[in-house]
Chain length 95, copies 2
DNA sequence: TAAATAGGTTTATTTTATAAACTACTTTAC
DNA sequence: GTAAAGTAGTTTATAAAATAAACCTATTTA
């Protein structure tokens, strides 16, 4: 019953989990928005977004707005699945 | 509302969380029991139990049974509180 | 045109998690 | 009785992660 399934290390990280939590409820989100909501530093966020993208959990699109760089993120279906699995597994630990 | 409260780093670790999860439902638990249930190595478990003890989240008692060393762990009230807080904070991330 | 700001990335440092090696003692097999 | 294997861990070393600091490029403001 309450066996401890391994927790996806990519999601078992405060910042990456917060990012995924935000993205799962949104169509897309900008870098600065994620930075503000998670209260993270740009450097840390940049690194963690990279990891999520490399895992295929999010998609990152780079463009320009008003001549400035704009990074927009969105969750992928793989990311949604991973997040849901993570939450499901986590329940064994906290209930 | 859904602001991301920091997650106690001492509990945001798969093995330590599993240990706390087990201990919160038990009066006490032996080292070998925790090792089996969490499927961890003795070395890793030993290190993580130390950290939980140093944080005051668990109490570790050492004795002998049948001439062999016996390590018994139990959760403290501080540990219960920390676990409950952790779970409460975590909900912001996963719901 | 110099300084400040925006929007990041890269590199370096610190912290963690984990595994490997070791210790100390006990039991079993020869 | 002694060598080998097993029990119950601890300590040390290594790998991986999180985080912070420094940096970069371009833009805006003074």
């Amino acid at each position: 019953m309450s066996t401890f399934k391994p927790l996806d290390p990519l999601l078992h990280s405060q910042l990456r989990l917060a990012v995924m939590s935000l993205l799962i409820g949104l169509d897309e989100a900008e870098f600065t928005f994620l930075k503000e909501k998670t209260e993270s530093t740009a450097g840390n966020l940049s690194v963690q977004l990279d990891k999520l993208e490399k895992a295929g959990y999010i998609k990152i699109e780079k463009s320009f707005r008003d001549k400035r760089p704009l990074t927009t993120c969105s969750i992928t279906s793989l990311g949604v699945k991973a997040f849901e699995d993570y939450v499901e597994n986590l329940k064994n630990y906290i209930s």
